[in-house]
């Protein structure tokens, strides 16, 4: 099917996954409010209902591979980058919804609205990945962010949740202000909000250069807030620690992935000609994020907070890909985001089992004896931790290899060395949890066997660990997909180095 966008009805086809998912989110919302307050809808039923919507949206996303767009000026693009990004978002949402029900039930959260917000937040992410228009990008980013703010503050009975939600909301709105001002200045400098048109204007050297640079700097600050790059990461630990655990899993995986996807699209499509201006900033952001986040994570005794810093550190690895800006790095970024989504949501799933679907038992000492009480879950957790650390044989290792490959292709030796060194540092705090799990006996007087895990959660974790191990051994299939997705992006650096004249 070929879309030329001569009629606006073509947007119905180009946006079919998003339309299906938002319509389904409203079905979930209505199903949730249909029940009286005394007998609320069961979280499991609502979860399966939401998953059905995600499955349909995923099917439609697969169908979109047969669709081509012939109009480069359309607001929505149908390229491989968008479709690959959609898989990441849908997978992140599906895994979150699979692991969430016991937490939602135990904490007596309102299930209907919870899943609706996850689905609508995912719609916002899919728009972020699919749009080439800065106005639409901003609206999509706000849709995703508002859903994330609410999901953070969702547990009314927990003060930390409210505190995290307020902090996230204030700092998030502040960073949205930067982004919006940046968009306004870029529009003023180039006369367009359409990314390829901006790119063409910039490349021709037309427009107001000073305004353009100021706008680009503001956009960079706004995105750096959203992806939690050091020194714009201050909100992350408190927000990730305070939020209900399923929300944290969703934010650390899918929300972060969406921010990176939009970051890449804006800088690769609109500002490739200014690469030499933004590359040093990106370099420093990547280096600082990797070093600071990994060093601070070393001293964390709260596992949830440790995973928050770990998520910041992974953002640093991904920023290396942005600094490298070649196709290999972009494919590595897509690969990394997919693997990271699986392993991060998986780690949060086991964390919820150990904390008994609450927010109390999160210290690393609470993991003592877990390994021999629930060997299967502990093995899965170990796989996720090893993959997060980037151990050979896991998907996380291959993902880091591809990022390294991208960095080396662009001759970024220092960043490549920093990536390896900080990865080695990160082994300590990941493996410490595994060590407590397997090597320390449970403390006296504690009754073991309180680690209850329902079947859907276990199945999701087993499937996730299976994919992680499979990708650790046979990564080429997914890498081919990622390479196809990154096609046309990141020719900047190659041209500069004379590799691709």
């Amino acid at each position: 099917m070929t879309l030329d966008f001569a009629s606006n009805a073509d947007y119905l086809w180009a946006l079919l996954p998003e339309i299906v998912l938002s319509a389904w989110a409203m079905v979930v919302l209505l199903a949730g409010v249909r029940r009286p307050h005394e007998t609320p809808a069961s979280p499991e039923v609502m979860a399966w209902l939401s998953l059905a919507g995600i499955a349909i949206a995923a099917g439609v996303n697969g169908w979109l591979y047969g669709v081509t767009s012939t109009d480069p000026t359309a607001m929505i693009t149908v390229d491989g980058f968008r479709l690959f990004a959609n898989w990441i978002f849908l997978l992140g949402a599906a895994l979150t919804i699979l692991i969430a029900p016991p937490y939602v039930a135990r904490q007596r959260l309102q299930a209907g609205e919870f899943y609706t917000l996850i689905l609508l937040g995912t719609v916002g992410m899919m728009f972020m990945g699919g749009t080439q228009n800065l106005i639409l990008l901003f609206l999509a980013l706000e849709t995703m962010s508002v859903a994330a703010y609410v999901l953070t503050a969702y547990n009314r009975r927990d003060r930390r949740s409210a505190e995290g939600g307020l902090k996230y909301f204030l700092l998030g709105s502040f960073s949205s202000g930067f982004l919006l001002y940046g968009i306004a200045l870029v529009w003023g400098a180039t006369g367009s909000v359409h990314l390829p048109e901006i790119g063409a204007t910039v490349e021709a050297g037309a427009g107001f250069t000073g305004l353009l640079l100021a706008g680009m700097a503001l956009l960079l600050i706004g995105f750096a807030f959203k992806v939690a790059a050091v020194p714009f990461h201050m909100w992350t630990p408190d927000v990730y620690e305070g939020a209900p655990s399923p929300s944290t899993a969703f934010m650390a995986a899918a929300v972060k992935a969406a921010s990176f996807i939009a970051f890449v699209r804006v800088f690769m499509e609109a500002f490739p000609a200014l690469y030499e201006s933004w590359y040093p900033i990106m370099w420093w952001l990547a280096a600082l994020t990797m070093v600071v986040a990994n060093v601070v994570a070393l001293s964390q005794t709260n596992v949830k907070r440790m995973l928050a810093y770990s998520s910041v550190a992974h953002g640093g690895y991904l920023l290396v890909a942005l600094a490298a800006a070649n196709q290999m790095a972009m494919a590595g970024l897509l690969f990394y985001l997919l693997v990271y989504t699986i392993m991060n949501v998986g780690a949060f799933g086991v964390l919820m089992v150990v904390s008994n679907y609450g927010e109390d038992r999160l210290q690393v000492e609470d993991y003592a004896g877990f390994g021999w009480t629930r060997p299967l879950l502990a093995v899965l957790f170990t796989i996720f931790l090893l993959s997060l650390a980037g151990f050979p044989g896991t998907g996380g290792f291959m993902a880091k290899i591809y990022l390294l490959q991208g960095a080396v292709d662009s001759h970024l030796w220092t960043l490549a060395v920093l990536l390896v060194l900080t990865t080695v540092v990160s082994y300590y705090y990941y493996l410490r949890v595994a060590w407590f799990m397997w090597m320390r006996p449970a403390p006296e007087g504690q009754t073991p066997g309180s680690y209850w895990a329902p079947l859907p959660l276990s199945l999701a974790l087993i499937a996730g660990a299976g994919i992680i191990l499979y990708l650790g051994i046979f990564p080429s299939g997914l890498l081919d997909g990622a390479m196809a997705g990154a096609e046309g992006l990141g020719l900047v650096r190659d041209t500069l180095l004379g590799l691709n004249p």
Partner: protein
């Protein structure tokens, strides 16, 4: 004549903005903000964007600001006169940054009439023609429901998310 009005509105808008920041009483800040928004509405009129000016007055200066006032009064804020503005270096840096951005804008746009990029913008003649053809409301409504229909629909989803979220967080019984 239009120039004189522009400078009056611009001065009141900027003065109001500074007033918002410098006031210690939130109600005072709010009234300065109403002044700023009304001055910007005046600038919209000078730019022939009459519909936008009316909406600006009704929605922002009217409805939103009144809601702000309700919230401040219902929560009984506005009795806390502590000096919450950082003084010294931070204050200087804040104004220096704002001044630098303003200076950059002025420098870039001064004598820029021959910059080819300006062809992307309609300019006064283009605006007059557009208004004559489509009317004040049509000039906004037509792009909103044709070129920007996707953005329009996405705004609907954004509002739904905000509404569902606000109800979920602020509900009396949980």
């Amino acid at each position: 004549m239009a120039d004189i009005f522009f400078f009056i509105f611009a001065a009141t808008a900027i003065g109001g903005g500074i007033g918002v920041v410098l006031q210690k009483n939130p109600v005072g800040s709010l009234l300065f903000m109403v002044g700023t928004l009304a001055s910007i509405a005046g600038i919209y009129v000078l730019l022939d964007a009459h519909f936008l000016a009316a909406i600006q007055i009704m929605v922002y200066a009217g409805a939103v600001m009144v809601l702000f006032l309700f919230v401040i009064m219902l929560l009984n804020l506005g009795h806390d006169y502590r000096d919450d503005i950082k003084t010294g270096l931070l204050l200087f840096l804040a104004f220096a940054t704002a001044g630098a951005i303003g200076g950059l804008l002025a420098r870039q746009l001064r004598g820029a009439a021959d910059n080819p990029i300006l062809a992307h913008f309609p300019g006064p003649e283009g605006m007059e023609q557009l208004l004559a053809e489509q009317g004040i409301v049509g000039a906004i409504a037509r792009p909103l429901f044709t070129d920007y229909v996707v953005a329009f629909e996405l705004t609907g989803i954004l509002l739904l998310v905000a509404l569902v979220g606000a109800v979920a967080i602020a509900k009396r019984k949980v």
